[in-house]
Structure formats: structure tokens, C-alpha cells
Amino acid sequence: MSQPAHTARDWLEKLRDLNFNQPIRIMNVCGGHERSITQAGLRGTLPANVELIPGPGCPVCVCPEEDIYQAIQLAQHEKVILVAFGDMLRVPVNVAKGEVRSLDEAKAAGADVRPIASPSEAKQIALQNPDKTVVFFAAGFETTTAPVAAMLAEGVPDNLYILLSGRLTWPAVAMLLDSGKPGFDALVAPGHVSTVMGPEEWQFVVQQHKLPAAVAGFSPESLLAAFYSVLRQLQSGERFLDNCYPEVAHPGGNPTARRLLEQTLDVVDANWRGIGIIPGSGYALKPAFSAHDARLRFPDFNDKARRRAGQMPPGCDCAQVVLGKIYPNQCRLFGAACTPRHPIGPCMVSDEGACRIWWAGGVRERAEAAVE
């Protein structure tokens, strides 16, 4: 159900004509969506009773604290070259004062930590350093994990190991819906996850939970089309999965990418930082690739006695922000103790974190906490 070409102004007029009175909460689950919404100022253009809620859309934010801690220890004690997407380098873990608390700090302390922008770079670094061990700490949702799968399928050097923290997006939304208190009335589904996995992955929202859903791209026009679609569905009582990004998110997704994911990785129960285990929400290397699995190759440095292991930092409400239970500026630390320059929680570190996006969008003041 693609929409005819409309400008953002057309969509805004159509949205106003819907004349909604009751409060409506539309959740997005993609940092790219939240960035477009915030930077284009879309919240201010919608009717006041329509709330746009950023949900679980930031893979860095939910990457287990234990995995980051493990990556720091590997970089420091196993003398490996540790490569990771740049966002991961500044995320702090919970350690005693004076100890190394991020990959950036490990690098400053002499460890060989290198930011990369692509899995291909991890492979290149391994090929260029045959006498060293290279660990690729790979956190990401399906869009990022599929290229990791492609890299594995294409063949990797013997000295390259993967510390995989890949996550699937839809199980987190399913968990919210199954909780009975999802906190939203309609879903805008992520454009590039749908490009890889297929828009159909989001059909469960409509079929099982009877909520409207629409896949959106990243332009204001595509996002407004998706908002219009779900609001119109709420008004009419119709329910269907709309695709407002048909030019890129094709039915069935990218068949090669899906095949590569299936060939190289298993879907497993996985831990989300501050949230807990979500069934079937993570990726792990298949046994055929165990020779490249950093979790099997190296000792586990995680000590259960470490204070606040696995948790968000003290006072940090990132877990609530990720689940869309509060807005970023309702966190107790937002803009005071926690800023992009001195981030405490991962949502203020990552470019896809809602706190960082809101701060960059000009929100600097704390708001009163919402009453659930």
C-alpha cells in the first residue's frame, strides 16, 4: 500500500484534518527515525494529543554491559587489536573509580583499540596484522549484523575473532506488547531493518495485537505518511501493515542478506542492558564458525562479584528511555550529570541514543517525570 507522492505540507494538512481528540502514542524503534523526527521538528507540527515516543532503537544502548567490560579486558589483558564501531568506544561500564571504564580509556591507557566503520575494515586489519589477534566487537541490529554475516560467509582470516552482540529488533517490541502495558497505540516500523528482513516481520503487531503499523523511511514525508497511516487506521478501525518506504523496503527484504544470516548465525535468547533476557532476540555464531567466536577463544573476564555488573550506571534511566516508558529529558541525570561531553548512560553516548538525539535537537532542560 504505497502512498502517492505528497509533500510534507500535504501530509500535515491531512493529519490535521483527521481531527483526533483522544491521546495517541506512536512508538518508533529506530534511532534514525528519532533523529529525523527531532531534527525536522515533527513533534511540534503534529496535533498536541499525538505523542511520538522513541522506543528500543539503539543497539549500543542495549548492548550488555558485560560484553563491553569483556571487550575492554580483551583489549587490555589479551593484547589483541580490538576493533568496534565508533559508538561503542565511549560507553562506560560500572567499575570502581580509577579503573578503565570504556574502550576509549583502554586505548588511552595503551591498548590497541581501533574504531571501524565497516566489517570489511575488521577483515582488512586482520589481514594487515597476520602475527596479531584481532577481535571485532560487533554490536548492532539486523541491518548491521547482516554485513557481519556476509563477512563471515565470504571467509575471514584465521586471526580474526568476533565478539558478537547482534540483536533483533522485533522481539523487543513483542515483549512490550506481551507485557500488557506496551505504552503505545501504534507502531512506526524501522525502514532499514525492514529493507534487510522484509516488512512482513512487523505483521505480528497488526495480526496478533491489533495495533496499526507502518514501515517508514527517513524523510519527513515518509515519516508523516506513516503517522497519517496509523492514525487513519486508528480512526477507521481498519488494521493493516502499511509500507511508506516501498522504494527501498521491498517485500521479503534482501534475500541474500537473510540467507547469509541463516547460514552463519543462530537466533538465541539474549540479554538487553538494563532490561534483561528477551527470548529469540540475539544472534550467536553457528558452530561451523566457532573457530572465530571470541566467546569461545578467550576466558570470560566477567566476575559476578563486580558491583552493578550488567546494570545501567547508578541513577541512569536509560532502560526506561529505551523501553519508551519515559522521555529522555525525564531521566534523573539528563542534561545535569549526563551530557554528550560527559555521558553516563549509553543513550547519551550513541548517535542513535534518544538522549543524545534530543540534546543535539536543543532539548537541554529536565522535565518532570511522567506518571505511569
Binding site: 570489511s120 547469509l260 542513535e352
Partner: protein, 75 residues
């Protein structure tokens, strides 16, 4: 990390393509496009160095315009 940018393919060597977007060049893997291999001159959405989908020239142009606007606003 889910930001994907459209790029135009200028040359291909195996599964690696030299791609260009507004004068910026990158080596891009076409390994995930094996079911519908793009050709020189085609536009692809590129995410973390891998092409994830073909796009039309018009869609590539409008995405580039959007990025220009975002860059202007965020300085």
C-alpha cells in the same frame, strides 16, 4: 548505526565496488546483493560498507538532499 546512504557504483571488481556520493568515494561490498547484482551506474543504499538494496536515481537524489538539510541544520 542504521544510517544508510545511497551511492552510485563507478567500477566493480568481484564483489567490491568503487562507489561515489557527492564526490566522496568508498569501497562497498556487493556480497549481500548476489540475488540481484547491481551494475556500474546503478545506485545502492550502503550501510556499514555493504550495499543492502538498489534504489533509483531519483530516490538517491532525494535522500542526498535530505542529508544536506540535516547537515546544514546541525552544522
Amino acid at each position: 548505526m542504521c544510517l544508510a546512504i545511497p551511492m552510485q557504483i563507478e567500477s566493480v571488481d568481484g564483489f567490491m565496488a568503487r562507489c561515489q556520493a557527492k564526490g566522496i568515494y568508498r569501497d562497498v561490498s556487493l556480497f549481500m546483493m548476489q540475488d540481484e547484482l547491481p551494475r556500474i551506474g546503478d545506485y545502492v543504499m550502503v550501510h556499514v560498507g555493504y550495499a543492502i538494496q538498489k534504489v533509483t536515481e531519483a530516490d538517491a537524489q532525494s535522500a542526498w538532499e535530505l542529508f544536506d538539510q540535516i547537515l546544514e541544520e546541525t552544522g
